[in-house]
């Protein structure tokens, strides 16, 4: 049994327990009718029939089996679930898949692959921008979109003159504050991002 299968079986046991509990307590509303949604994930149209409650994060992980995007807190506090929608980074745990019918979604799987890494992925490897690696897909998706935001002239809390936006380590730290790394690989994450920025400019 793989680790993932073990987790799936464990999850089923929890689901059974919850159902049994619900039977003894207040009756739950019946599950709503499934809805049809098509997400464009990493350039490919993905039609789905899902419960409206399914978050964009769960649609990616549980329905499309793109498990690179991670579930950390599931409340928009940690950034592990960061993906891009129409090129902008968001927390996929705080959005419903049904709200993204027809939208273009970008995940870590679409950035690069073994043997053909995205420059940001290669820089994270070169600089040891991680230890356990759980926050890393979110960090990398966030960092790629963050450099686009600087390029587009979007200011941040630490931008001294709101009309003059430029790259600095302070800007990176502020703009990446929505991605938590409990291994505290922050200095190396900043170094990786700085490298990618220097190579671009």
């Amino acid at each position: 049994m793989t680790r993932r299968e073990a987790i799936a079986v464990g999850g089923a046991a929890v689901a059974t327990a919850t159902t049994a509990q619900a039977a003894g307590g207040a009756p739950e509303a019946p599950a709503p009718a499934l809805v049809e949604v098509t997400l464009r994930v990493n350039g490919r149209a993905q039609p789905l029939r899902i419960d409206p409650r399914v978050t964009l994060l769960d649609a990616l992980r549980e329905h499309l089996h793109l498990t690179g995007t991670k579930k950390g807190c599931d409340h928009g506090q940690c950034g592990a679930c960061t993906v891009t929608v129409e090129g902008r980074r968001i927390n996929s745990c705080l959005s419903l898949a049904v709200m993204h019918d027809g939208d273009s979604i970008g995940t870590i799987e679409g950035l690069g692959r073994p043997g053909k890494l995205h420059p940001m992925q290669a820089a994270f490897v070169a600089h040891d921008g991680f230890q356990c690696g759980y926050c890393t897909p979110g960090q990398i998706c966030s960092a790629v979109a963050m450099l686009d935001e600087i390029k587009a002239g979007i200011p941040s809390h630490v931008t001294a003159d709101l009309m003059q936006v430029s790259f600095s380590d302070d800007e990176v730290r502020e703009r990446m504050s929505g991605n938590i790394c409990r291994c505290a690989a922050y200095p190396n994450i900043v170094a990786a991002i700085r490298d990618v920025q220097s190579a671009k400019s």
């Binding site: 009718a33 049904v98 709101l162």
Partner: protein, 313 residues
């Protein structure tokens, strides 16, 4: 999450009518606060009306020089708008001091005004909370209340409004435009938009059932120096302990505060004291403050923050 049905509205009037027609229905825009609360079953709508495709996503200068911000303009786009950065810097600064980039990319102008308090006891369904369950009591009064309110609170609720954006809008005297389910429109001054808790802390705004915010209007540019200064427990991505939005302009000084009260707090009578310095202003702003033992430190913090902001202006 409790089960719900979902529909996409195509116009503001349709959206308001759809919510009015379905008991337990709610609007959903960015979703960054509503979905969080739905996962915890603090919010349990039976029907969601998605308003992301009804327009209201533009920022435009009106014929009389005022600036209209569509309800669905994202926080990132509002903060980055060149006119806002140039003429309403206090608003750009307040937005950029809040949340994370990912949340600002999704959160909307109207949703930010309507976000719920971050009081721990509102979030903790095992504890009484008059805002979550009217009449159940307030666990915060005798609990951990270091970051809760000192002004405008009641013996039933001491929660604060968490928005930074709304504090800047209060300093700017913004007005909130709405459409009702029957199609009538009105403008609500932001001073009257958020309600004090009194004996009904679960009623937080002047909005009627089904009434939809369509935009926020700022007065013509005021000029002067714009500052938003926020004191928080870490350097980024944290709610305010105390914040101040200041506009020091030829027409007078405007000061609004966050982190202190159930709504953005402004005392116009205090602003005439600005030339006498932070202590004189704070004395008027904080008159009637009812701090708890744990959050009494917010009072001298307001004085020091004001002294620093006025010295720099």
């Amino acid at each position: 999450m409790k089960a719900f049905t979902y529909e996409r509205a195509t116009s503001p009037a349709d959206a308001a009518a759809a919510v009015a027609a379905t008991p337990g229905a709610r609007f959903i825009a960015g979703g960054t606060n509503l979905l969080d609360l739905m996962k915890l079953r603090i919010e349990t709508p039976g029907h969601l009306v998605d308003i992301n495709h009804i327009g209201l996503d533009r920022i435009e200068v009106m014929a009389d020089g005022r600036l209209r911000i569509g309800a669905l303009v994202r926080n990132t786009d509002l903060a980055a708008d060149k006119r806002v950065r140039r003429d309403y810097a206090v608003l750009s600064r307040a937005l950029l001091a809040g949340a994370s980039a990912q949340l600002r990319n999704k959160a909307t102008t109207a949703g930010n005004l309507l976000q719920r308090t971050r009081c721990h006891y509102f979030y903790d369904a095992t504890k009484p909370c008059n805002k979550r369950v009217p009449g159940s009591g307030c666990a915060a009064l005798g609990g951990i209340n270091r970051n809760l309110g000192v002004l405008g609170t009641s013996d039933q609720c001491i929660a604060t409004h968490p928005s930074d954006m709304a504090v800047a809008m209060r300093a700017l005297d913004a007005s909130v435009e709405t459409v009702a389910p029957d199609g009538t429109t009105r403008a609500i001054p932001i001073a009257d938009f958020h309600l004090l808790p009194g004996t009904t802390p679960h009623i937080e705004t002047a909005l009627q059932p089904g009434e939809l915010i369509t935009g926020v209007v700022l007065p013509a540019p005021l000029g002067g120096r714009h500052v938003y200064r926020k004191v928080r427990d870490r350097a980024s991505y944290a709610f305010a302990v105390v914040s101040v939005a200041a506009v020091v302009a030829p027409g007078g000084t405007r000061l609004a505060f966050g982190g202190l009260a159930p709504r953005p707090w402004r005392v116009e009578a205090a602003e005439t004291q600005a030339e006498r310095g932070g202590e004189a202003v704070a004395e008027v702003v904080l008159a009637g403050a009812k701090p708890t033992e744990q959050n009494r430190f917010k009072l001298p913090l307001v004085t020091r923050l004001l002294t620093s902001v006025l010295a720099d202006s």
